[in-house]
């Protein structure tokens, strides 16, 4: 029987197996940030264990950083201390750190791919559930807890039971205005938030084959929102072209050698998956969520379903929505374009194309937060910043920002935010905030209209990147 992409990468990284137990999986790259690493460093220090392979660890500051005045000292004492501790831990253990203000600083899942740290066929981990993003390169990448961060520090390995395999195939042509974010929100709305638990997911079909690397990252990023530890897409010419020439990518002959290996990774025709789902691209429309988990999503033209389940009702009550109603024309005061899901240059190009020549509605506070310093520089160089500012949008500095609202970028109590991030949990964007997940296009259109609008109605006139 043939092997899946996941099998091939996994099997190449198994050091040993515990009898009747987990396997020891070797980890190629370990990404760390300020929030989930300090306790792991403490653990090692308390036990007198050195960091085993510091050259395979890369650190950035992203979760708890301000998105304005990054050149000034951080006001919040706890946040400042957390960042100082990251710097001290990295210095002490000889770990490369792209700290606040560094030209390579950014959200961990944006900066690592753009620097060529992420490469096909690798195993990668980070103390962050959206590490699944890197699966877009045909990489086994997944989020881990802090105890596991300590394990990787100590041994460059993890003890894991091999997950089951799941494949989601989407074929056909996406309608104009339907973005990668809509594809993954659609899949999660169909499968639910725990359908992938215990599985690693592969996305296949021409929709993903025709997608840019940025789009593939958006899709794989949200694998965890259906419970899957990770999601992968087979590496192809689009992948190789993206990786080629990046800072830490192999160069010249070494690159060509890698490419011939990467070409052997796609799933064999006769491989069998534990679970398979098929969807038709034509059925996908721009999506919005109406509840408090990412599975509670509808096409923008649909109405909120009716369900008697107590948790479902609690969720609608929190959102102050009624079962059976449409979200079209709901007034919205906050819009956030950013997060490891949608803060890459392509996302800002889509937003700028829509916004160009229009004005932000007066009632809307709109934050545009690039995923990295490099994306920020691209936004400026391509003239997008001028488009945004002319339209009344605020371009802020890179970081996780209002996706999890650890810093000051919080949505006020009771307010709705149309957000390109990945989670609409209660209070996720600030205590009492109400999140509606959407694509950068829907977010931009909301900011201009001051309310949710059906972008499909405008589809003939849309010019997208």
């Amino acid at each position: 029987m043939g092997k899946t992409l996941f099998d091939k990468v996994w099997d190449a990284h198994v050091v040993d197996s515990v009898q009747n137990g987990p396997q020891i999986l070797y980890i190629d790259k370990h990404l760390i940030h300020e929030v989930t690493s300090p306790q792991a460093f403490n653990e090692l220090e308390a036990r007198g264990i050195p960091v085993f392979r510091s050259n395979q660890i890369v650190a950035t500051a992203d979760h708890n950083t301000p998105t304005i005045n990054q050149d000034l000292p951080i006001k919040d004492e706890l946040s400042r201390k957390q960042l100082e501790q990251l710097s001290a831990n990295c210095a002490k253990n000889d770990i490369t750190l792209y700290e606040l203000g560094h030209k390579y600083n950014g959200i961990v899942h944006v900066m690592a791919p753009e620097l060529g740290i992420t490469q096909p066929g690798m195993t990668m981990v980070c103390g962050d559930s959206h590490t699944s993003t890197h699966g877009a390169f045909g990489t086994i990448a997944f989020g881990i807890g802090t105890s596991q961060v300590a394990q990787v520090f100590a041994s460059q390995c993890l003890l894991l039971t091999k997950p089951k395999s799941l494949r989601v195939t989407v074929n056909g042509k996406l309608k104009n205005g339907v973005l990668p974010k809509d594809v993954i929100l659609y899949i999660i709305s169909k499968l639910g938030t725990n359908s992938g638990t215990g599985y690693f997911c592969e996305y296949a079909g021409d929709v993903f084959e025709n997608m840019s690397m940025e789009g593939r990252m958006t899709v794989c990023n949200m694998s965890i929102e259906m419970g899957a530890r990770g999601g992968m897409i087979a590496p192809d010419e689009t992948t190789f072209e993206y990786v080629k020439g990046r800072e830490f990518a192999p160069k010249g002959e070494a690159f060509e050698k890698k490419v011939s290996y990467w070409k052997t990774l796609p799933t064999d025709d006769d491989a069998v998956f534990d679970k398979e789902y098929y969807f038709d691209a034509e059925d996908i429309e721009p999506m919005v969520t109406y509840g408090t988990n990412p599975g509670m999503g509808i096409k923008i033209s649909e109405t909120i379903p009716v369900d008697d389940n107590a948790s479902f009702k609690k969720s609608l009550e929190y959102m102050n929505f009624e079962a059976g109603e449409s979200l079209i024309d709901k007034p919205i005061n906050f819009v956030f374009i950013g997060s490891c899901t949608n803060s890459r240059i392509e996302d800002f190009r889509v937003a700028a194309n829509f916004i160009k020549g229009k004005q932000k509605a007066h009632n809307v506070t709109a934050w545009l937060v690039p995923g990295s310093k490099q994306v920020e520089a691209q936004i400026i160089n391509e003239g997008l910043k001028d488009i945004f500012e002319d339209a009344g949008f605020e371009l802020r500095q890179p970081g996780c920002s209002a996706c999890l609202a650890m810093n000051d970028d919080k949505i006020p109590q009771g307010e709705y935010c149309v957000s390109t991030s990945n989670r609409n949990f209660e209070g996720r964007q600030g205590q009492g905030s109400r999140t509606i997940l959407a694509s950068p296009l829907v977010a931009a259109a909301t900011a201009v209209a001051g309310k949710i609008v059906d972008v499909t109605k405008d589809i003939e006139t849309l010019e997208l990147a």
């Binding site: 190449a12 990284h13 050091v15 515990v18 009747n20 137990g21 987990p22 070797y26 929030v35 989930t36 300090p38 306790q39 653990e43 036990r47 264990i49 979760h63 708890n64 201390k81 957390q82 501790q85 066929g121 103390g127 559930s129 989020g143 881990i144 807890g145 802090t146 105890s147 596991q148 394990q151 100590a154 041994s155 460059q156 390995c157 993890l158 003890l159 039971t161 997950p163 938030t193 725990n194 638990t197 965890i224 419970g227 530890r229 290996y261 988990n293 107590a310 948790s311 609690k314 999890l404 609202a405 650890m406 109590q413 989670r423 949990f425 209660e426 209070g427 996720r428 205590q431 009492g432």
Partner: protein, 196 residues
């Protein structure tokens, strides 16, 4: 890590489904650089309103209920990988979480902190929740060696699954670092010979 063998305790019901780790410990409490104090803020925004007043309707605040076992709705611990969620539950005093389904990362984090996730059938979960709500003094017995969870003084019982390796770790208080460090030579040999 603390050892776990058996536990007999009253339990607190939490009938909500899809409880994510943002509810267990909101992001604004993740600024600490040690593992202490998270218990004070477990389920913070369900236990307190925005002014810091106690929400009396929430089961953790209901004096009728007590104990170190939390019995929660389906798909517990979904969302963020923050291990702070496990530290918060342990810090508050929980030793066992019962649900009909656990998210992967949370389950691993719990096991790495001596907090036992007990996955039961949907029917058994409903029986437990109904029993605790009608008879809050009911005690539950969790036996890791036998892999059973029972209602004390009754014949209501169910067995649960746990990875045999993790079971050994929990019973003996071992953690994965000890094991991985014992394999250092093999790991170095793998690095020297890896083919990709």
């Amino acid at each position: 890590m603390e050892k776990f063998t058996t536990l007999t305790s009253r339990a607190i019901p939490l009938t909500i489904e899809n409880i994510d780790t943002d509810q267990i410990i909101p992001a604004r409490f993740l600024k600490a650089t040690d593992k202490q104090g998270f218990g004070d803020n477990v389920f913070r925004d369900w236990r307190f309103d925005k002014h810091g007043n106690i929400n009396k309707d929430f089961s953790l605040n209901n004096p009728t209920y007590s104990g170190s076992i939390l019995v929660a709705g389906d798909n517990f611990g979904c969302g963020s990988s923050r291990e702070h969620a496990a530290w918060a539950l342990v810090g508050y005093g929980f030793k066992v979480i019962v649900s009909s389904f656990f998210a992967d990362i949370f389950k691993g984090n719990a096991l790495n902190n001596g907090l036992l996730p007990v996955q039961v059938s949907e029917g058994f979960l409903k029986t437990l929740l109904d029993t605790i709500e009608t008879h809050p003094e009911t005690k539950l017995e969790v036996n890791l060696e036998n892999q059973t969870i029972s209602i004390s003084n009754s014949d209501v019982s169910e067995s649960f699954d746990i990875d045999p390796y993790k079971k050994t770790c929990m019973i003996n208080g071992y953690d994965d670092i000890d094991y991985l460090l014992s394999k250092k030579e093999q790991i170095e040999a793998f690095e020297a010979e890896k083919t990709y």
